[in-house]
C-alpha cells in the first residue's frame, strides 16, 4: 500500500529517463509493471519446464534451491528486532537504487550509503551525460551531412556549436537525473546515509564523512554496490586536461583537433562519435587485433565500415599504449606504442589529447572486506550466481551480496539493477537467478549498435559442445519502410537461433534506433519465447520494429508453433 501511494511524479520521471538510458524495461519502469514482470517470470519458469528445455538459461539447482528456501524461511520466522534495517545497500548508483526501490516495494526497511553523489557512475560520469553529448553529435552529424539533407529536400546553412552549451547540456542532464533519483528514494522512505561505508563484520556497517565520527548501523542483509572507476593501465599519466578518462571527457572542457582514444569498446566508440561530430580527428589504439572486440564479428565489420572508415578516424591495432605523457612545455601528448605480441616498441604518436577508455576497474578498496575474510580477485568481489559473496575459503558469506560493476559479472548499469532486484527477491523469500544472457547491451553511436545473448562464434562453440545446430538469419534496414523514410537504410539485424527448437540464442542489431529495438529480442529470451511463436506477434506498420518482425519470420525453425497463448479466441 505504501508503495502505491508514493508513486508520485518525482518517482516516475527518473525512471522513465533511466529506461531510455539503460534500455532495460525489466527494472526501470514504474511499479505496477515491475509486479507484472515478476508474474511473467513465474510463467517463464513453468514454460521452460514444460518444454523440457535443456538450456542453462534458467538454472534452478535443486540443491541450492531447497537450502535457500530453508534458510530464508528460518530467517523470516525469527523476528530480528535488533537490526537497524532489513537491508543496507552500500553505493547509491543505478544498481543500489534499483535494489532499494524493489526492497521498499517488498516492505523492507532500507538504507543506502553513499560516499559521493547519488547516481553513481551512470548518472554522473557515464551513460547519462554521454547520452547528452551523443544527442548533440547525432544532430550535428545529420546537419553536416549535406548529402543526407539534400536527399530529404532540406537546406541547412552551416551547422555550428557552442562547446560550453553542449557541456552544460550534459551537466544539466546529470544533475536533473541525480535529483530525480534522490527524490524518488526519499519519497519512498529510503534512508540516505552520507559517508563512505565499511563492513565491520557480519551484518554490521560503519559509515561517516572524513573528519566526523563514524556511525555504526546493522542490517539483516547487506548489498555491496560500490561500482567501478575508469581503469588506467600502467605507464599512462592522466592529468585530466590532455590525457583524460571518460570522467573528464564528459565535461567536454575542450575539443582537441586530434585525439587518440585508447580502447575501442563501447566507451571509446561512443566518444569517437562525439569527437568526430564536433570536428576532431581520432586515432584508435586497440590492443587486440581488430577494432570493436566483443561485438559480433559481422556486426563489428559493418560497424567499422560505417562508423570508422568514412570518418576522420584512423587506428592502430595489436598495440599497447605503454607510455602516455601529457602535453607540457609546448610539447604535444606523446604516446609510445608497443607491439602486443613481440613487445617491441612500434611507433610514437603525437596528438593533442588522449582519452583512456580501456575499461573500468572495480571500486572496492576500503570496503572492509578483510573483516569478513573476503579476498577480491583483481579488485572484483567474488560472488556466486545469486550474487552471494564468497569468502577466501570458498564459502558463502551469509547475508552479504554484491551486485553491479563491483562483482564484474556484467558491467552495465541495468545489469546491476537487475542483479539488485534479484537479490531482494531472494532475501524476501523467493529464489531467483538472473539470466545474464537476457540482458541487452547497447552502444549509442550513430547509428546505434545493440545486442543480447551470444555472438555467432560463441553460439557455434556452444552448439558444437552441446550438439545442436546453429541457424543464422539476417535482415537489412534497407528493406524497412520507416528506415528508408528517415533516409537511414544502413543497418543489419542478425538472429542466432536453434533451428531444432526455435530458441533465440542471440540478436545483434546495427542500425537506426537499434538500442530501442533490442528489447523485443531480450524479452523473448528472458521469457523463453520461441521464434515459432513470436513470429506471429503483430508489429505496427510502418515501424522500425518490423526489422525484427522480418528477422523472426526469416528464421527457419523446424519445431511447430505452440498452441495459442490465448486459450479462447477473442472476437473483435
Amino acid at each position: 500500500m505504501h508503495s502505491t501511494l508514493s508513486l508520485s511524479q518525482a518517482t516516475t520521471v527518473p525512471r522513465s529517463n533511466y529506461a531510455f538510458d539503460s534500455h532495460s524495461p525489466s527494472f526501470a519502469l514504474s511499479k505496477p509493471i515491475n509486479l507484472r514482470f515478476c508474474g511473467l517470470r513465474r510463467e517463464a519458469f513453468g514454460f521452460s519446464n514444460l518444454t523440457q528445455s535443456c538450456s542453462s538459461r534458467v538454472r534452478i539447482s535443486s540443491r541450492g534451491h531447497s537450502k535457500k528456501i530453508v534458510a530464508s524461511a528460518g530467517n523470516n520466522g525469527t523476528p530480528l528486532k535488533s537490526f537497524n534495517y532489513d537491508l543496507i545497500i552500500i553505493g547509491a548508483g543505478v544498481g543500489g537504487h534499483g535494489a532499494a526501490l524493489h526492497a521498499v516495494e517488498k516492505g523492507l526497511k532500507t538504507a543506502i550509503i553513499e560516499g559521493d553523489v547519488v547516481g553513481g557512475t551512470c548518472v554522473n560520469r557515464g551513460c547519462v551525460p554521454s547520452k547528452a553529448l551523443l544527442a548533440v553529435s547525432g544532430r550535428m552529424r545529420e546537419l553536416q551531412s549535406e548529402h543526407h539533407m539534400k536527399a530529404l529536400g532540406l537546406q541547412v546553412s552551416v551547422a555550428g556549436y557552442d562547446r560550453q552549451g553542449v557541456a552544460d547540456h550534459a551537466n544539466n542532464l546529470a544533475s536533473k537525473i541525480r535529483s530525480n533519483l534522490t527524490n524518488s528514494m526519499k519519497a519512498l522512505g529510503v534512508d540516505i546515509l552520507t559517508g563512505v561505508g565499511t563492513i565491520l563484520g557480519p551484518q554490521k556497517v560503519k559509515y561517516g564523512k572524513v573528519g566526523f565520527p563514524d556511525s555504526i548501523v546493522t542490517a539483516k542483509d547487506i548489498i555491496i554496490a560500490t561500482g567501478s572507476v575508469p581503469f588506467v593501465p600502467k605507464g599512462i599519466e592522466v592529468d585530466g586536461k590532455t590525457v583524460i578518462t571518460s570522467d573528464h571527457a564528459l565535461k567536454l572542457e575542450f575539443v582537441p583537433d586530434w585525439i587518440a582514444i585508447v580502447g575501442s569498446g563501447y566507451i571509446g566508440l561512443e566518444f569517437s562519435d562525439v569527437y568526430t561530430a564536433l570536428g576532431s580527428e581520432v586515432t584508435f589504439i586497440e590492443a587486440l587485433d581488430q577494432l570493436m572486440p566483443g561485438f559480433d564479428p559481422e556486426i563489428g565489420k559493418l560497424a567499422q565500415r560505417v562508423l570508422i572508415n568514412p570518418r576522420k578516424i584512423d587506428y592502430h591495432t595489436g598495440v599497447f599504449a605503454t607510455k602516455i605523457t601529457p602535453a607540457r612545455d609546448r610539447k604535444p601528448v606523446i604516446i609510445e606504442l608497443t607491439d602486443a605480441k613481440t613487445k617491441e616498441p612500434k611507433d610514437t604518436l603525437e596528438v593533442d589529447a588522449a582519452l583512456i577508455a580501456t575499461g573500468r576497474a572495480p571500486f572496492t578498496n576500503g570496503l572492509g572486506l578483510e573483516n569478513i575474510n573476503v579476498v577480491t580477485q583483481r579488485g572484483f568481489v567474488p560472488v556466486d550466481e545469486r550474487m552471494r559473496v564468497i569468502d577466501a575459503n570458498g564459502n558463502l558469506v551469509p547475508h552479504l551480496y554484491c551486485i553491479g560493476d563491483a562483482n564484474g559479472k556484467m558491467m552495465l548499469a541495468h545489469a546491476a539493477s537487475a542483479q539488485g532486484i534479484s537479490v531482494v527477491e531472494q532475501v524476501t523469500g523467493r529464489d531467483h537467478v538472473l539470466n545474464h544472457l537476457s540482458i541487452p547491451a547497447a552502444c549509442f553511436t550513430h547509428p546505434e549498435i545493440s545486442m543480447v545473448g551470444l555472438t555467432e562464434p560463441q553460439a557455434r562453440e556452444k552448439g558444437e559442445k552441446e550438439g545442436f545446430e546453429v541457424g543464422i538469419a539476417k535482415t537489412s534496414f534497407k528493406a524497412n519502410t520507416k528506415a528508408l523514410a528517415e533516409n537511414e537504410g544502413e543497418g543489419l539485424a542478425k538472429l542466432i537461433y536453434r533451428p531444432d527448437n526455435g530458441e533465440i540464442l542471440g540478436v545483434h542489431i546495427f542500425g537506426l534506433h537499434a538500442a530501442d529495438l533490442i528489447h523485443e529480442a531480450s524479452n523473448a529470451i528472458a521469457l523463453g519465447t520461441r521464434i515459432q511463436d513470436i513470429k506471429f506477434a503483430v508489429h505496427a506498420h510502418p515501424t522500425l520494429s518490423e526489422v525484427l518482425d522480418e528477422l523472426f519470420k526469416s528464421a527457419k525453425v523446424k519445431a511447430p508453433a505452440s498452441s495459442s497463448p490465448v486459450s479462447e479466441p477473442v472476437a473483435v
Binding site: 549535406e146 548529402h147 546553412s157 552551416v158 583537433d257 586530434w258 580527428e281 581520432v282 586515432t283 559493418l302 565500415r305 560505417v306 576522420k312 578516424i313 584512423d314 610539447k331 604535444p332 606523446i334 610514437t348 603525437e350 593533442d352 539476417k474 535482415t475 537489412s476 534497407k478 537504410g489 544502413e490 543497418g491
Partner: protein, 472 residues
Amino acid sequence: MAHVLQTSFLPSSTSLGLNPISGSKGKSQAFQVKAKIREIFMPALSSTMTEGKIVSWMKSEGDKLSKGESVVVVESDKADMDVESFHEGFLAAIMVEEGGVAAVGSAIALLAETEDEIAEAKAKSQSSSASSAQVVEEKPKPKEEVAQAASVAASVASTVSSTKTVAVGSAVHPASEGGRRIVASPYAKKLAKELKVDLGTVVGTGPMGRIVAKDVEAAAAAGVVAASGHASQQHASPAKAAPVAPGIELGTVVPFTTMQGAVSRNMVESLSVPTFRVGYTITTNALDGLYKKIKSKGVTMTALLAKATALALIQHPVVNSSCRDGNSFTYNSSVNIAVAVAIDGGLITPVLQDADKVDIYTLSRKWKELVDKARAKQLQPHEYNTGTFTLSNLGMFGVDRFDAILPPGTGAIMAVGASQLTVVASKDGHIGMKNQMQVNVTADHRIIYGADLAAFLQTLAKIIEDPKDLTF
C-alpha cells in the same frame, strides 16, 4: 539479402533476364552449356542501385574460391556488402580494380573452373575489360572547398597568389625527428591516400608542424602529386628559355586535380541554366575620388564595389534571388556578395556576408581577412558557399570588358572591367574626359528578366556615380 546476392554470379551462358544487362547473352536455360569460365557480375544490392563501387577484393587473382565464400566488398548507393561466390572455382581475373565503379550487371571478374583455365580467362578479360567497366581514378569526393571553388564563373579575379614552392621534409614537429618521420592527422592520411598525395612532400601547417587535411588538399591542388621528393629538384630551377609557367611540363597530359574536376563539372552544369547578359557603362570619377580619400583607412576597391552592388541589390531583390528547382524563386534573406579570387590551382569565392548592412571599413577588413584565409586554404564552408550574388573583377589586368558564367545555384554574376579614361560627350553638347568602366551581368532568365537587370544596373550606376551612401 542472400538471395539477392546470388543473382550476381550467373554463368554467362545461362543468365536469363535476371540481370537486365546480361539477359541478352543467353536465350535458353534448357541448353545449359557448361560454362568453364564464368563472369562475376556487379550485383544489384538494392532496387535503386544502378552502379556499384568495388571497396575491396577479399581474394586475389589465382585464389581458389569455394561456394559461399566472400569474394568482394561492394559499395552500393546505401551500404557496403560482402558478395559471396555462387560457384566453386578460381578467381582468374579481376576486371574492375578496387575503387573502380561498374554498372549493375556488368562483369567485374572472371571465375575459372580449373586452374588451367586461368590464363584463358585472363586473355578474355583483357579484351573485354576496357568496355565493360570504367575505373574511376581519384573519385572526386565532395570536398567543400573544391565544390565551391568550382561554382564560380570562368572569370578570374584580383588576387593571384604566388606559386607555392614545395619544401621537402621541413615539418618541424617536435616528434618528427628532423623530418624523418611524417606526422599527419588521421584525416590528412585518409585524404592523402584518396588524392594520391605523397605525404613526404607535404609541408605541415597544423599544430606544431603537423600535416593536416588542408595541407594535403593544397598539395593536391598545387599538382605536386608526382613530386619525387628530392630537394635537389628545386634548385634545378627551370631554364629561362621560354616564359612557361614553372611546374608545367609541356607535351604532357595532366589529369584534373579534384578542384579542377569540380570546376569542370560545375561549368558543365551551368549549361542547363538559360542565361542572358546585360551590359552597362558606369562613370567612376566620383567613386575613384572617394577611394582616394578613404584608401588610407584600409578601404579597398573590392569592398567599395561589393558595397555598391549590395545597396543596389536591396532595391532589386529579384536580382538577388535564385532558382533551385526550376519551379520557384528563392528570395534570399541576406545579401551575400561572393567575390571570385584566383588561388593556386583554382579559384574560390570568399563571401562578404550581409554586405548591405556592414559598414565599408568593417567590410574592407573582413575582405582582407578572407583573402588571407583563402590563400592559406583555411576558409570555412560558410565563408565561401553562402554567396547570393557574385562579383568577378579583371580590371586590374587592364581587361575592359568580359563575360562571366553563372555559378549554379545563384541568380546573377557581374563581370567588372577596368575603369579607363574615356572621351565622353555630355548632355550639354560638350566633350569631356571621364573615367568609365564597363560591367556585364549574366543572369538566370528563368527568374530574372531583361528589365530587372536593366533597372538594377541603373540603380547601381546611380550609386557609383554618387557614392556618398557607400560610407553611410
